[in-house]
């Protein structure tokens, strides 16, 4: 029993939350609200997928918001829009994804070859991409006129938008990568014991750069889907993605110290966080307190998940 709680704690917490909110509010368990929970979870889930591989490798990436905003702007000015005359149609999607991949790979490569902590490199990258997004922003707010993009958010199938279905697909693909590819398996191993892998001749550097590139791609996709949802290009569109995604990964059991967790755990974390937000609003908590709640959740989650690692002789920076 205690083993079950230890290994499946986050899942049990999610189930507990859902039951709690369903009992105490009439609205939480309604189909339309559950659909809203899934819609709200979709984009953070995509970001969390990218972050998960990085966190498993014991690195971190703070550039989420910048990359997503940049992607959103690049998309909005390269598809049919109300401001610029450029229109490359759906080619904008692979273009934007490439931007994300390149930014991510750059972060990874700088961190590894210049030997700087990923925390700092991605902090710099966060600023750089925020600035690039602002530089690329045209004079007026670009409305995205490409309906094949906006319909992703508008068209609903069985009550859910294409964004949610796309997220499901991505979760399945990422799970396959995590469980069955050398990259996925080695990512967790790198976080657990990098020196042994290096001694065994594993190309650790390649796996690390790949993780950052993949994550950059995920943030870019998030930027595209944000564009679909809000229908415009906005330099602030990615703001607010970073903290919930990191919190979600940690909540689910993907520790910042690396070597643990995975896609499934991170997705449970996303659902916990989104349900908590949604449920608290249903109960009547002030939405303005939302970020305070998330902040507290981050601290409690990290402290709780690493409590057993506490030692007096331990460097905590």
């Amino acid at each position: 029993m205690s083993k079950l709680i230890k290994s499946q704690g986050p899942l049990l917490a999610l189930i507990g939350l859902v039951i709690l909110f369903s009992v105490f509010t009439d609205s939480f368990a309604s189909p339309s609200n559950l659909a809203a929970v899934l819609e709200a979870a979709a984009i953070p889930a995509i970001v969390a997928i990218g972050l998960t591989f990085i966190l498993m490798q014991a690195s971190i990436d703070l550039s989420v918001e910048g990359v997503a905003s940049l992607a959103n702007i690049v998309l909005s000015i390269t598809v049919a829009n109300s401001v610029t005359s450029t229109d490359i149609g759906l080619w904008a999607v692979p273009l934007v994804l490439c931007v994300g991949l390149v930014v991510g790979a750059t972060s990874g490569a700088v961190s590894i070859y210049v030997r700087m902590p990923s925390l700092i490199v991605t902090l710099g990258m966060w600023l750089t991409t925020v600035g690039l997004a602002a530089l690329l922003y045209p004079d007026r707010l670009p409305q995205i006129l490409e309906t094949r993009i906006t319909s992703l958010a508008i068209d609903k199938q069985w009550g859910l938008s294409w964004i949610v279905y796309l997220t499901f697909l991505l979760i399945i693909a990422a799970t396959l990568v995590e469980k069955h590819t050398r990259f996925g398996r080695m990512s967790r191993a790198i976080g657990e014991n990098e020196p042994v892998l290096r001694m065994s001749g594993i190309k650790v550097n390649h796996h690390k750069i790949a993780a950052f590139a993949l994550a950059g791609g995920c943030y870019a996709l998030a930027g595209i889907l944000l564009g679909a949802r809000i229908g415009v290009g906005n330099t602030q569109s990615g703001v607010g993605l970073l903290f919930p995604s990191i919190a979600a990964c940690v909540l689910g059991g993907t520790l910042l110290s690396g070597g643990r967790g995975g896609i499934r755990q991170s997705m449970i974390g996303v659902l916990i966080l989104v349900s908590l937000r949604n449920g608290l609003i249903q109960i009547g908590a002030d939405p303005l307190l939302q970020s305070a709640l998330e902040g507290a959740v981050i601290i409690v989650a990290v402290a709780g998940s690493t409590w057993h690692l506490r030692r007096k002789i331990r460097v905590i920076k």
């Binding site: 990259f183 657990e192 065994s200 007096k312």
Partner: protein, 505 residues
Amino acid sequence: MTTAFSLEGISKRFGEVTALDNVSLELNEGEVLGLIGQNGSGKSTIMKVMAGLHRPDTGIIRVGGKVVQLRSPLEAAQAGIGLVHQEQSLITSLTVAENLFLDKPAGSTSLGFYRWANLRDRAKHQLDKVELDIDPFTPVSELSFGQRQIVELAKVLSLEELVHGHMVILFDEPTAVLNPPEIQALFGQIRRIKHRSSVVFVSHRMDEILEISDRVYVMSDGRNVATRDKEHVNVDELYELMVGKQRVNRTDRKPREAHIGAEPALTLKNVTVPGEIDDISLTLAPGEILGLIGVQGSGAETILRTIFGIADEWQGKIEYFGAPLTIDSPAEAVAKGIGYLPAERKTEGMIRNTSVSENVAITYGWQHGRGAGLISRGKERGMIEGWVRKLAIKTPSIGHRIDNLSGGNQQKVVLSKWLFGKTLKVLMLDHPTRGLDPGARGDLFAVIRELADQGLAILLVGDTLDEVLTLSDEIIVMKDGRVSARITDVQAAPPSEEELVKAMV
């Protein structure tokens, strides 16, 4: 008998310390060679040379008669040499099968995706060889330590499909974490693989060496002092050989003039740290030097760290000048007058990238300050220079970075931090002379003696026999976390080195 592997005239130095001094070793086909020696005798270094982890400064390595260079573990593996690690090198979040082929990825993936069925078959084949009946897809984290050790062995044995000819398998203290049935299972495996490989087996425990080896190879002070066939082993002779050159020059042991206090400074009653030390009791009086000795992992260091408030959990009772000692951090220990010189000088002792003077003044500098937390660098300077002279610390100036000093001088700087204050009553020294040259050792010995003569109570974990024999008033020998021998009055009735070694291994 054919020689499978040989070392000829291997030497290896680390800075000031000679780890291997012109060592030769021959390993016959199908034989188990038991390697025995004290801490620091060079047995770990010789294993690392054979496994390609260290490159020797001089000497030749031959495999099957041919001279080879072993520049990395990978090259050693290609020559048919595999090391079964002491500290486990398995990745616990991966499955057994993945671990087995971690360093030999060829053929296990296609287009980046694992070919699980293929991996399972190959892993099953390797596990069958060592008769380990587990699912190859079990995560290593779910295995016992004994099973993990067998998986390590299987990982090394999977070499044989890659190399033609004879193999050399090295075991570096594989039994340290195993229980008796697991040790027997491991021995079974070693006997089974003898027909196609030679084995070098290192252990701290004499009984294990005698049980499994065909020949015993004794090391002392970085040299091979004897090789004995199993039939001609005399256990007492082995102990004597292990002591080797370290035999204390009896004239070194000057009679102590100190008046040893009647009331104990420190009393331990039934102190236990789960998994490390078990039911330790001892007393230490002002002016006394109590020497603890034991092989690595015997728990001697844990005693010091428990008293200093670093142990995460412990049971039992510690009394300090008659009152119960309840401390939870080094800061509290220091406030009470207890000091600790850690064994790990680089990570725990010295504050790197910082000057000699800051290293000395970090603990007690405030005692010489102007009050209100203000420090007086002028006053400190004079005192620090005094200690530098007294301990003969070779440094261009006290503003010099500690990193640039030699190991012995670094150690003296770290020691002077404890001598800098006015309130120290108990000083605990954890391997104070580790890695120092003979000259620096002699200097430190003299300082330690003088400190005790001035009334400090000293608890010492020795690196070598001569250290504890030369310095101590009382000696406690530790083995597997327990006290295995006590010599209460060293001055009156000095024990023989053999007696101590027997209690240690």
